[in-house]
């Protein structure tokens, strides 16, 4: 008797329509939650009536680690946050710490930082497109995207030695100049890449099934997006033109010419279009960087031990996923007093409930894909 009561109370709660509600535990081991995300879904048939995210499976206490090691030592830890776009995280950290000082970062270093940052955006967006398309069932795009992502990772390897967690930048510039081979490879890549973007679009953009699966699904209005603190392509797809590369330019972005693409409807399709357009803009930015890249040193003179003055700063950059910020409290010693990571995935994922409830089970998968989360950065 006991068992019966338990199953009744746990699984079979009545919904409004009188049908039995099914509680499905999606994840943490599920192919399309993109990591160890657990979503507890309450289903009425295939309609989602309620949803709760359980995160924290990948919590490694990165912020706590940051309080106990020096500023330079923390750079490799930032690689492990959004591991899909590691150089972007490095960039956020080094620019945040550099804000404490009035160092003159060499222009060449800034250009290389911007360039590598854009490459990491391409790598991240490619992985997003690959997995997102696979979630919706388009299998070929997955492998095509990985083919190009491989080229980007080869570039990282040429320049920094690492492929995924590259530890790209140092406080005050770069560790050493990028080899000449990197520049030729980068030129080769951006020559070939626009046609590859065209390939992905042939398979998806005007595909009727793709349109049916993405148009009008997971819609969030511009006001709601701001209210939920969304950032990055998600916010721009809802029609809010906000890009930190424009709003608060860092590295070499003040000198670069690019367009911030925005959507209109804030649905999955617009997010897709915005990200595809961002890929094109990244190519444009890299092309400009390669053309304008000045000669000169890649690192300024920095003290042997880095001790920022007492104070607090918040600095954020435009990560591929959104606004990626560091809030650092310095007490004047070699280690930060407090490191706060402002994770775009975490904040964006909080809107999942808003995006999914009332939709169908299959849409949950598509919506999670369209948010583009990386649990490493979400859980920290």
């Amino acid at each position: 008797m006991y068992e019966i009561e338990e199953t009744k109370s746990e699984i079979q709660t009545k919904t409004v329509t009188g049908a039995d509600e099914l509680v499905v535990n999606m994840g943490p081991q599920h192919p399309s939650t993109h990591g160890v995300l657990r979503v507890i879904l309450h289903l009425d048939g295939e309609t989602v009536t309620d949803l709760d995210c359980d995160i924290g499976y990948l919590h490694r206490g990165t912020e706590k680690i940051g309080e106990n090691i020096t500023y330079s030592m923390f750079i490799p830890y930032t690689d492990r946050l959004d591991y899909i776009a590691a150089p972007s995280n490095n960039l956020a950290w080094v620019t945040a710490v550099e804000k404490f000082f009035d160092w003159e970062i060499p222009i060449r270093a800034n250009y290389i930082r911007s360039m590598v940052g854009e490459f990491s955006r391409i790598a991240s967006h490619l992985l997003w497109l690959a997995t997102h398309a696979l979630d919706i069932g388009a299998m070929t795009v997955f492998l095509w995207c990985f083919r190009e992502r491989e080229m980007v990772l080869d570039l990282f390897e040429t320049a920094f030695g690492g492929r995924l967690t590259v530890n790209a930048f140092r406080l005050g510039g770069l560790e050493q100049d990028v080899p000449a081979k990197f520049l030729t490879l980068a030129q080769e890549f951006i020559d070939i890449f626009p046609s590859r973007i065209q390939d992905y679009e042939t398979l998806l953009t005007n595909n009727r099934i793709w349109l049916q699966r993405t148009r009008g699904v997971g819609v969030i209005s511009g006001e709601d997006a701001v209210d939920f603190g969304l950032s990055g392509p998600l916010l721009r797809a809802s029609g809010v033109n906000y890009d930190l590369r424009r709003a608060k330019p860092y590295a070499a972005y003040p000198y670069l010419d690019f367009v911030v693409p925005t959507g209109e409807n804030g649905d999955i399709y617009d997010r897709y279009i915005v990200r595809i357009e961002e890929l094109r803009q990244s190519v444009k930015i890299i092309q400009q960087c390669l053309e304008q890249l000045p000669d000169g040193p890649v690192s300024c003179k920095t003290p042997r031990t880095i001790k920022p003055p007492v104070g607090e700063i918040y600095h954020s950059i435009e990560n591929p996923k959104g606004e990626f910020g560091f809030y650092i409290v310095s007490d004047g010693s070699e280690t930060p007093y407090r490191v706060r990571i402002r994770p775009p995935s975490f904040v964006n994922l909080a809107a999942l409930k808003k995006l999914c409830v009332g939709g169908l089970l299959a849409d949950v998968v598509a919506v999670i894909g369209s948010i583009d989360i990386v649990l490493g950065e979400c859980d920290r």
Binding site: Y242, G325, V329, R342, V347
Partner: protein, 197 residues
Amino acid sequence: MADESVQGENSEVDEETSDLNPEEDSKKDVGRDILDVLEAKFPGSTFDAEAFSNFEDELSITLKPDSLEEVALFLKDHEIFQFTMLVDLTAVHFPNDDLPLHVLYQLFSIEKNRRVRLKVRLQEEQSIPTVSNLWSSANWMEREVFDLFGIDFSGHPDLRRILMPDDWGSHPMLKSYPLEGKGERVYDKPQRKEIGE
């Protein structure tokens, strides 16, 4: 550094922050307009502004916990500032202070491309009103601060642990949390029921 009169009233708080700003003159005007408006609107309460170096986006305004709700609402709905986005919400622990827990709100105005940081200082065990009714993004971030610092946000709709396991006994981002040894793993189920229900 802020207005003289404000500084006078809050001298004990400012002792620590005064050495943040070696060049007083250059940053006197950073965020002056926001402070003026706030002081005109809330004559009874006190504000204390500080800015690191002279970055315009590094303005922080320190508030009393009880005035947080109305100031936040005012700043959000103000027709000029329009701080419609809560970018970040976090806390810092200063165990030796009188008011050891600082809760920080990073506000951002997309219209004006302007940032301001609200800072609230709390006693241990003191609760603070939630802002999740003003900005939906505060929901998860307040949960996180509760999880890692143990700060109770009164009025929060769903205050549960978010990153740590549900039955984790303590709050790891506090400076008092041991870094090694078995002391850190204190499982304490009743506490979870008390706060998270």
